[in-house]
Amino acid sequence: MSTSKPKVRHPNLPRNKHGLTFRDYEGAVSTLCAGCGHDSVTGAIVQAAFELEIEPHGLAKMSGIGCSSKTPAYFLSASHGFNSVHGRMPSVTTGANAAHRDLIYLGISGDGDSLSIGLGQFAHAIRRNLNMAYLIENNGVYGLTKGQFSASADVGSKAKKGEANQQPPIDPVSLAMSLGATFVARSFSGDKAQLVPLLKTALTHNGFALVDIISPCVTFNDHEGSTKSYRWSREHVHKVVHTDFVPPAGEITADYEAGAAIPVDMHDGSRVMLRKVDDDYDPTDRLAAIDFLQRHTAAGEVVTGLLYIDESKPDMHGVSGTTATPLRDLGYDALNPGAAALAEIQSAWR
C-alpha cells in the first residue's frame, strides 16, 4: 500500500465540501465472496463517510482478523488502517485513541473476532466508553476459517456440514447493554436505508458506539436453517427505530413532527433525530431498552435500529482528564520536566 497509486478521477461525480467524491471514499477491490454481506457494509461505510464529509485522513480504520476484518482494505484507502491480530482490535484502538483523541475511529470486527477470542477486550472497550464506532459484521460463523459456528450462532442454526448448533448465542447487543454501553444499535447489511444513517450516528457519537450488523455469509451460512441468512433476516428482523441524521453542516430538514421524534444532541453539536416506530419506545431509557430487547429476543425477534443512546457519559479521556491537545502532538517541551525538577525530585532520595 502506498500513496503513489493514482486515483482515477471522475469529473462528473458530486463533490462534498472537501472536494471529494463518493469514489474517494472507496478502497481496493474486495476479495470477499461474491454476495458477502460484509461487502454491503463496506458500501454503507463509504456512503456514510462521504455524506458525513469526513476527511479521510482524519479517520483511522481498525480491525482484527477474519473476512470482516479484511474489509478496511476495501474502503477509505486514504485513511490509515490497522489490521491487528485476532480479537485484539479494541486494545489497539484504545492505545491509538489514547495517543490521539481527535481522530474518528472506525473499528470493524466479526462475531468470532469480538465474541470469542476478543470478548474481554470488546467488553473493556465498552467499559472505558472508548470513543469509537465499533461494527460487528455478524454472520454467526467463522467465515475465514471455513464456517465453524461462532458464539453468535443461533441454537438450531445448521453449519454447512450439517450439524446444528446447540449452544445459546451471545448477543452483542444484550451484552453491551449489560455492560453499560452508551450507544447500542443493530442493523442488517441488506438494509442500507437503515444502516447508513445508523453508521453516521455511530461515527458522530462521543463514546463507544456499537453497531451489530447481521451480515450473512453466503458461503457458509446462508442456507435454510441458518438464522443469519439473508432470507431469515429479511423475514424475522424486527425494526423498531429509524434514525435520520442531520449532518453538522447540512440544512435543517424541514418538518420532523414534534412528539414522534426525539432529538438527541451529539457531542459535536450535531443533532440526531430518532423516530420511534413503537410509541412507547425511548432510546434514552436504559431500563426500558433492556426490557424491550429481552422481550423481543425471547420472542425470537431481532430488533434493529438505535436501541440505546446516552451522550452524557464521559469517554475515556473525559474520565482520565486528559488534556485537549492530542498527546502525540505535544512537543517535547510540554513533556520534559527539565533538569531542575529532576534535582528537586532527588532531594527526597538521600
Binding site: 500500500m1 502506498s2 500513496t3 503513489s4 479521510p56 485522513h57 482524519g58 483511522a60 481498525m62 478496511p72 482494505a73 484507502s77 486514504a78 485513511s79 490509515h80 488502517g81 490497522f82 489490521n83 491487528s84 491480530v85 485484539r88 479494541p90 486494545s91 489497539v92 484502538t93 484504545t94 492505545g95 491509538a96 485513541n97 489514547a98 495517543a99 490521539h100 481527535d102 481522530l103 474481554g120 477486550q121 473493556h124 472505558r128 479521556h317 482520565s320 482528564g321 486528559t322 488534556t323 485537549a324 498527546l327 502525540r328 505535544l330 517535547y332 513533556l335 520534559n336 520536566p337 527539565g338 533538569a339 525538577a341 529532576l342 534535582a343 525530585i345 532527588q346 532520595w349 538521600r350
Partner: protein, 604 residues
C-alpha cells in the same frame, strides 16, 4: 558465646531485620538506610518479602559497605529478629561471631541458643508499651526503637536520624516527638546495657555525595517521564507494579496543568497484558511514546503482539521486571530468566531488541534509550530489569538529564516531507539502512498496517519473493540495530585470557568478584553487554579470550545461549556460572567457581 571471636570491622556490616509483613517496618528500615547514607557510607538495601499481603515473615537487609559494593553480601552480621515465627532460621543465618537482637519482653533463651554468636535482648515491646498509647503506635514505635538500638550499638549518628525524622514528618509535627522518643528509648537501652559500639560499627565517610538512593522501578518510571512517554498501559503484576506507580506519581506531579488539572499523559489500566501491549502498539503507531511494564507471565501473554510489532514494524517499549519463574513461580524473588523468551518472543522468525540495565541509574537512562531505539528502529524494545534492581534500594550517582536531549523519533514523514517525496512506500528501504519510512495517522500518506504477508510497498502479498524480500530486510535491520544499541561496559584488567560476561543486576556481584579474584592473583576481564543484538565488541571480547565465564541468574544459561546465537561465540569457551535460587546474586557465587577453574589450571 564460645571460642568464636566477635567479628570486627568499620563500615562493613550486614544487618538483616526480620519482621511480619504488614507490620509497618518499612519506614523504620528506610530511616536506618538513609541515616547510614547521610553519614556518607555506601549502603545497599534489599527487601525479601513474601507473595502475601499480611502476616507472613519478611526481611529487610542493609549492607553497609565502605568499599561501595553493590551486591548482596551473602552473609548476615547482625540479625534483628522481630518475628518469633522465624527465630530458628534467623538464628541460623547469622555468621559466626555475629549478633542477634530480639525483643526480650518475652525471653526466649532456649530457642535462641547458639554458642558462636551474641544474643542481645532488648525489651522493645515493654519499652514501647510503657511509653506509647494505642496498639498502632506501639507496634510502629517498636520498629523505630530497634533503629535506636542499632544506632546505639553501631554508632549511627542520632542527629542524622533526628534530622531525617524532622524532614519526614514536616507536615505532621506531632509524629516527630514520638519517633524521636522511640529512637532514644532504643538508643539509651543499648548504651546502658551493652558495651557500645560493637566491634562492628560504622563511622562517617564521604562516599555518598553526588549519589542518591533509589529503586529501579522508580527510576525507570521517571525515565519514561523524561523520555517524553505519554501513554502508559499496564496490568498490575509483581514486581513491575511500582514502575507504573512511579510514572503515574511523577506525571501527576510534573505533567498536570496546575490550573485546569488537565493531564499531559494517559495511563490505561488494561484488562490484561494482551490488551496492555495492544494499547502500546496502537499508541506507538499513532506516534506517541508508549510503554508497558510487566513481568514474566505478562511477557508470555504478549508474544503474539510482539511478533506483530516486529513484522509490521511498530515501535513499542516494554519493561520486563523479571521475577523467579517458570509460571507463577516465586513472584517476590529475583531471576534473569526471561532472556530467551523476550529475545525470540512469538512464533515465526522473530527477534527483539533488548536492553539490560544494571542498576536504577541505567533504568533511568535506558528508558529514554529504549524509546529512541524503538522509534528509530521501528520495532519493540524490551528493557530487562529484574526484581533485585526494580524493587531494592540502590545507591547510584545522582540522575542527570541532558538539557539538549531531543527524542529521536525516527523516520516519520510529516505531510510536508511526504509531499516533497516522489512516492511513499511503507516498507521500502530508501536509505540502505533497512529502516523504512512511516507516516502517522491524521497526517495523510495513508498505509495499511498488517501482520499478514506484505511486500515492500506495504501491499498484501502471498508471493514468495515479495514476502522474502521483506523478512530479509528485517534481518538487515537487525544489523543496523547492532550498530546503534548502547555499547557494552568493559573492565579490561590487563587483557587477561579469561573474561566474565554478565548482564543487568549481576554487575555489582561481578565487580566485587573481580576485586576478590584480583586479590587472589586471578586476573579476569569483564564485559557487560548492555543490549541485544550484541555490539561487535562483545564478539571481539570473546574471540580474544581463552575462556569466558558467563555469569547469569537462571538455570538454563540463557545469556550464554544468546551469545552463541548472536555473537557467534564458540561454546567451548563459554563456561556457565549460574545462580537461580531467587535470591540476589553474590560475589561469592562467582568467585568460587572461577577460582576453582583457575586452581584446576584451566584458565586465567
Amino acid at each position: 558465646m564460645g571460642e568464636q571471636p566477635a567479628r570486627a570491622s568499620i563500615n562493613d556490616v550486614v544487618i538483616k531485620i526480620g519482621t511480619v509483613n504488614g507490620s509497618g517496618s518499612a519506614s523504620a528500615n528506610g530511616l536506618l538506610l538513609k541515616a547510614l547514607f547521610r553519614m556518607g557510607i555506601p549502603v545497599c538495601g534489599k527487601n525479601y518479602f513474601p507473595s502475601n499481603i499480611q502476616g507472613l515473615p519478611t526481611w529487610y537487609e542493609i549492607r553497609v559497605t565502605g568499599d561501595g559494593y553493590r551486591a548482596a553480601a551473602g552473609r548476615v552480621d547482625i540479625m534483628v529478629a522481630m518475628n518469633a515465627q522465624t527465630y530458628a532460621r534467623d538464628l541460623e543465618e547469622v555468621e559466626p561471631g555475629g549478633w542477634l537482637i530480639y525483643d526480650s519482653t518475652w525471653p526466649r533463651s532456649r530457642l535462641l541458643a547458639r554458642d558462636d554468636i551474641h544474643i542481645i535482648g532488648v525489651p522493645l515491646s515493654e519499652l514501647c508499651n510503657t511509653h506509647f498509647e494505642g496498639a498502632r503506635a506501639r507496634v510502629l514505635m517498636k520498629n523505630i526503637a530497634y533503629v535506636g538500638v542499632l544506632a546505639g550499638l553501631l554508632d549511627i549518628d542520632v542527629d542524622v536520624i533526628e534530622a531525617l525524622l524532622a524532614e519526614t514528618y514536616a507536615s505532621k509535627p506531632h509524629l516527630i516527638d514520638s519517633n524521636r522518643e522511640a529512637i532514644r528509648l532504643g538508643y539509651d537501652y543499648a548504651r546502658e546495657h551493652f558495651e557500645c559500639p560493637l566491634p562492628v560499627k560504622v563511622a562517617p565517610l564521604d562516599k555518598t555525595s553526588g549519589h542518591v538512593l533509589v529503586d529501579g522501578n522508580t527510576a525507570a518510571g521517571l525515565g519514561a517521564v523524561y523520555a517524553g512517554a505519554t501513554v502508559g498501559a499496564w496490568y498490575p503484576i509483581t514486581p513491575s507494579t511500582s514502575l507504573m506507580d512511579a510514572f503515574q506519581h511523577f506525571c501527576q506531579r510534573l505533567r498536570t496543568d496546575t490550573e485546569t488539572g488537565e493531564r499531559r499523559y494517559c495511563i490505561v489500566q488494561a484488562e490484561d497484558e494482551l490488551a496492555a501491549i495492544g494499547m502500546v502498539l496502537g499508541a506507538s503507531w499513532m506516534g506517541a511514546r508508549a510503554f508497558t511494564p510487566t513481568s514474566g507471565p505478562g511477557i508470555s501473554l504478549m508474544g503474539e503482539f510482539l511478533g506483530f510489532a516486529y513484522y509490521a514494524e511498530v515501535p513499542a517499549v516494554v519493561f520486563d521486571v523479571q521475577r523467579c519463574g517458570p509460571s507463577t513461580g516465586m513472584p517476590t524473588r529475583t531471576q534473569q530468566s526471561d532472556l530467551l523468551s523476550c529475545a525470540y518472543a512469538s512464533h515465526g522468525d522473530t527477534k527483539h531488541v533488548l536492553l539490560f540495565p544494571s542498576d536504577p541509574g541505567e533504568c533511568f537512562t535506558m528508558a529514554a534509550e529504549a524509546f529512541d531505539l524503538a522509534e528509530t528502529l521501528q520495532t519493540p524494545v524490551i528493557v530487562l530489569s529484574d526484581l533485585d534492581i526494580g524493587m531494592n534500594d540502590w545507591m547510584v550517582p545522582e540522575l542527570e538529564w541532558p538539557e539538549d536531549y531531543e527524542p529521536a523519533r525516527g523516520k516519520v514523514l510529516d505531510a510536508e516531507a511526504r509531499e516533497q517525496m516522489e512516492s511513499f512506500h511503507r516498507y521500502l528501504d530508501v536509505d540502505g539502512d533497512a529502516i523504512p519510512y512511516r507516516t502517522l495517522p491524521g497526517t495523510g500518506g495513508s498505509y495499511f498496517t498488517r501482520g499478514s504477508g506484505h511486500n515492500r510497498f506495504g501491499g498484501y502479498t502471498e508471493d514468495s519473493a515479495e514476502y522474502q524480500d521483506v523478512v530479509d530486510r528485517l534481518n538487515d535491520k537487525w544489523e543496523t540495530a547492532r550498530a546503534r544499541v548502547p555499547a557494552p561496559f568493559t573492565v579490561d584488567a590487563n587483557f587477561a585470557n579469561a573474561g566474565i560476561i554478565a548482564v543487568g543486576s549481576s554487575d555489582g556481584a561481578v565487580i566485587e568478584a573481580l576485586d576478590r579474584l584480583a586479590a587472589d592473583g586471578i586476573a579476569v576481564d569483564y564485559l557487560r553487554p548492555r543490549a541485544f543484538p550484541f555490539a561487535d565488541a562483545v564478539r571481539e571480547f570473546i574471540e580474544s579470550r581463552e575462556v569466558v565465564f558467563v555469569v547469569e541468574q537462571n538455570r538454563d544459561a540463557q545469556l550464554r545461549t544468546l551469545l552463541m546465537l548472536d555473537a557467534d561465540a564458540d561454546p567451548a569457551k563459554l563456561v556457565s556460572v549460574l545462580h537461580y535460587d531467587g535470591m540476589p546474586i553474590t560475589a561469592a557465587s562467582i568467585v568460587e567457581p572461577i577460582a576453582r577453574h583457575a586452581r584446576e589450571g584451566r584458565a586465567a
